[in-house]
């Protein structure tokens, strides 16, 4: 893998190579999270994207500075809407608890919910309208807490875990393909909320310019210590090369330096989570999880609370994915709800886990690296192929342009093909799970 990244570094550029590496690291964290759910417990989570996106949202809400004006105009209504929501839910719960079952309860319950919803919509509409009216080109949302973005990595995990808890209550206990469909649906809803609740997320207007945990390239390029470093590393005399060439050198070096900083952060997180996951897998808890996965009925018969265990695993895995989601938004420096599509953020992670080896943590990491590398590099390779094929076609041929336009989609075909082939010929993945008697 290192070799492949090296080749990219040498042939394309080290900046590209490191960009791929960073996303490989983030993907590895995601695929570890999914591996906890699928590999440890056999949960078919088709809603990976929801955790990722929530992690991203957490990054915004933690790091963005609060928009005072928006709070001033919409804060009261937001608060009222929130209070209405909480009291409606609480009231509903009380009605279910206190009123004896029967048609009366059903009527009260229904009327209560309807009333609550109407009131909620009233406050909510006022709040969102006034908030979204505040300087819509720049803000138009409530903003965040203005804390360091690194905190959001933990917050992202926590938010995703919270959603997983709710989803788990609804969907766990369903048979595997229903669970898959339910989670897929929930993730789609999450994304449409993020896209449309502008007061919270700016929606499709995106939140850009998030704070960075690492220095900016421009600052680096002007720091004397960095320029000295570049000179020392290249053992070059700035006086011997042309001014422009030196400038370019510093610029590319600054890019590399920033990416390396990110890599350091991501690698740390990956190693910590990998370590924890390995510990968990080999603990009595991990053994029990695998026992449940391999024979749910027997485990239930032995008195294990299967649904409860599944909930734990589902929450844990989602939290890990949430952390990765926050990391991704941090790396991008922006939050773009429109970019979350299931193929990229749910099913691609599935490809990683399947290829790497379900149940094997190192396998999940390896799978993530291979998959992401292929995903990115399939495009230049496809374009190169198309160029060569096109040498048969004349410049004016419309087919030529068509091929160039659609070449990127080849990677979908490649991914699908790899997934199908691995599933067929190496169903345990590249690094199979150790010492189990799993039979599929």
């Amino acid at each position: 893998m290192a070799l492949l990244l090296g080749i990219v570094g040498a042939t394309q550029s080290w900046n590209v190579s490191l960009a791929i590496l960073n996303l490989c690291l983030i993907s590895a964290v995601m695929s570890l999270g999914l591996n906890i759910q699928w590999g440890y417990a056999g949960l078919f989570n088709a809603g990976v994207m929801a955790s990722t996106a929530l992690g991203g949202l957490a990054a915004v809400l933690v790091s963005y500075s609060p928009v005072g004006e928006a709070w001033a105009v919409g804060g009261l209504d937001t608060g009222l809407a929130f209070i209405t929501l909480v009291s409606t839910v609480l009231g509903a719960w009380l009605i279910r608890k206190k009123v004896p079952e029967g048609s009366i309860r059903r009527v009260i319950f229904f009327v209560w919910l309807l009333g609550g919803y109407a009131l909620l919509r009233h406050f909510y509409e006022q709040a969102s309208l006034s908030i979204e009216a505040v300087d819509p080109a720049q803000t138009g949302f409530l903003g965040g807490l203005g804390l360091p973005i690194l905190i959001s990595w933990i917050a992202g995990g926590a938010t995703a875990a919270g959603l997983a808890w709710v989803v788990g209550r609804v969907a766990l206990g369903l048979r595997s393909d229903y669970f898959a469909i339910a989670t897929l649906g929930i993730s789609e809803i999450m994304i449409s909320i993020l896209k449309n609740e502008d007061w919270l997320t700016r929606g499709v207007k995106n939140v850009t310019g998030l704070e960075r945990p690492v220095p900016y390239e421009v600052d680096l390029q002007q720091s004397q210590w960095f320029i000295d470093l570049v000179i020392r590393l290249h053992s070059a005399d700035p006086n011997q090369v042309s001014e422009e060439f030196f400038q370019e050198m510093v610029m590319s070096a600054s890019g590399v330096f920033v990416k390396l900083c990110y890599s350091g952060f991501f690698l740390t997180v990956l190693l910590v989570i990998l370590g924890l996951a390995a510990l968990a897998l080999n603990s009595p808890w991990g053994r029990m999880m695998r026992a449940i996965r391999d024979n749910e009925i027997a485990a239930a018969a032995m008195g294990k609370d299967v649904t409860n265990r599944h909930r734990q695993v589902f929450i844990l895995g989602s939290a890990v994915i949430g952390v990765a989601g926050a990391m991704l938004t941090t790396l991008d420096g922006q939050f773009t709800p429109g970019s979350y599509i299931p193929l990229r953020f749910t099913f691609l992670i599935w490809v990683m886990v399947i290829i790497g080896g379900s149940g094997n943590n190192l396998g999940a990491v390896l799978g993530a690296f291979i998959t992401w590398f292929t995903w990115i590099e399939a495009e230049p390779v496809a374009l190169w192929l198309v160029e060569n094929l096109n040498s048969f076609l004349s410049e004016q041929n419309p087919l030529r342009q068509h091929f160039i336009n659609v070449a990127p989609h080849l990677r979908m075909v490649v991914m699908g093909l790899i997934m199908i082939l691995v599933l067929r010929f190496r169903p345990a993945g590249i690094l199979p799970e150790k010492n189990t008697n799993r039979t599929d």
Binding site: E125, A171, L174, Y178, I189, S192, M412, V413
Partner: protein
């Protein structure tokens, strides 16, 4: 007069669109349900298969148009439909032979089939875009409206117009035709009964001498017919866009599960339930209430339960409710 206006308004914006969309979903859900009934897995590639079927039909349509093989009134795609079905049938059969049959022989768990279908989904997603790109394509030709809103207003003297597109009528007609044929097939023919038996009790069907390969082959072919119909009718009525077809997977699954997965009747009912709920919850009833209320009165706000952006969320909410209250669906699921 006002109540008439209200009725026309509702028909035009809620009833007819829901009926049409519901028919399209029902055809899609029937395809999912029939595959589930026989092979016991939820086919995640269904949306992409619909997309592929539509694209192949579009190509045939373009070819027909280029050689002038059109009727002028009916959409050319209708002529291309049989060929689309054929191509889709071949594709689905190739997928069955190369991917799914292996796991069936090994009696793999359903979830393995689902993962394999995700792989297929990826591949088809790429293949479709390789052929046709990602742009929106409108391939409807021929007569657009059977009733135009303006003419209706003139004829009836009402304030509200009623428009009826040819594709809407075609969708409902073809859906009725396909569904009646399917039910006749399942209830009356030897092969249909064998399929129902296979879905009900696979081992006993084998003991009775039912050939599993033949059942599977027939199932895929029927699903190819339904897939092509659903895809092409949706595309004719709205337009073709690859991403939309992926998103159709969710309401289709919802329809199949709401009705009781594996139950054809349930799939149809589910399709209409999902479609009507999607349209009614996102329709703003302001104008409708204004007609019904006292003169000069107008309700505050749009009187809309959910904003239109949450259309897809509605199908999912129904799904969750059904899963919570009655996980087997309205008709007890699991058999054809």
């Amino acid at each position: 007069m006002d109540s008439l206006n209200a009725i026309v308004l509702l028909s035009n914006y809620v009833f007819i669109p829901s009926l049409v969309y519901g028919s399209q979903l029902a055809l899609g859900a029937l395809g999912v349900t029939i595959v589930f009934g026989i092979m016991r897995f939820a086919n995640f590639a269904h949306g992409e298969m619909m997309s592929f079927a539509t694209v192949s039909t579009i190509f045939i349509t373009w070819w027909f148009q280029s050689i002038g093989f059109t009727t002028g009134i009916l959409p050319t795609a209708l002529l291309a439909l049989p060929f689309g079905i054929l191509i889709t049938g071949l594709l689905v059969w190739a997928i069955e032979r190369s991917v799914f049959s292996y796991y069936r022989q090994r009696k793999s768990k359903p979830v393995i089939f689902v993962i394999a279908s995700v792989g297929v989904m990826f591949m088809l997603n790429g293949v479709v875009r390789l052929f046709i790109g990602t742009d929106e394509i409108i391939f409807m030709d021929g007569l657009k409206f059977l009733i135009k809103a303006g003419e209706f207003k003139k004829w009836s003297g009402l304030k509200e117009g009623l428009a009826l597109k040819q594709t809407q009528v075609l969708t409902v007609l073809l859906a009725i035709l396909a569904v009646s044929w399917l039910f006749w097939f399942l209830q009356k023919t030897k092969m249909g009964k064998a399929m129902r038996a296979f879905s009900d009790n696979e081992d006993l069907a084998l003991l009775s001498g039912v050939d599993p390969e033949k059942v599977v082959r027939t199932t895929w072919f029927i699903s190819a017919v339904l897939i092509t119909l659903a895809g092409v009718l949706y595309g004719l009525d709205k337009s073709y866009k690859p991403l939309i077809y992926f998103h159709l997977l969710l309401p289709i699954f919802a329809a199949a599960i709401v009705g009781g997965i594996g139950q054809p009747l349930g799939a149809i009912l589910g399709g209409y339930i999902v479609a009507f709920s999607e349209v009614t919850t996102t329709y703003a009833f302001k104008k409708f209430l204004r007609y019904l209320g006292p003169e000069g009165w107008s309700p505050e706000g749009l009187v809309q339960l959910l904003s239109t952006e949450y259309k897809f969320a509605v199908s999912f909410l129904i799904l969750v409710l059904v899963l919570l209250i009655r996980p087997t669906g309205l008709f007890k699921g699991r058999v054809l």
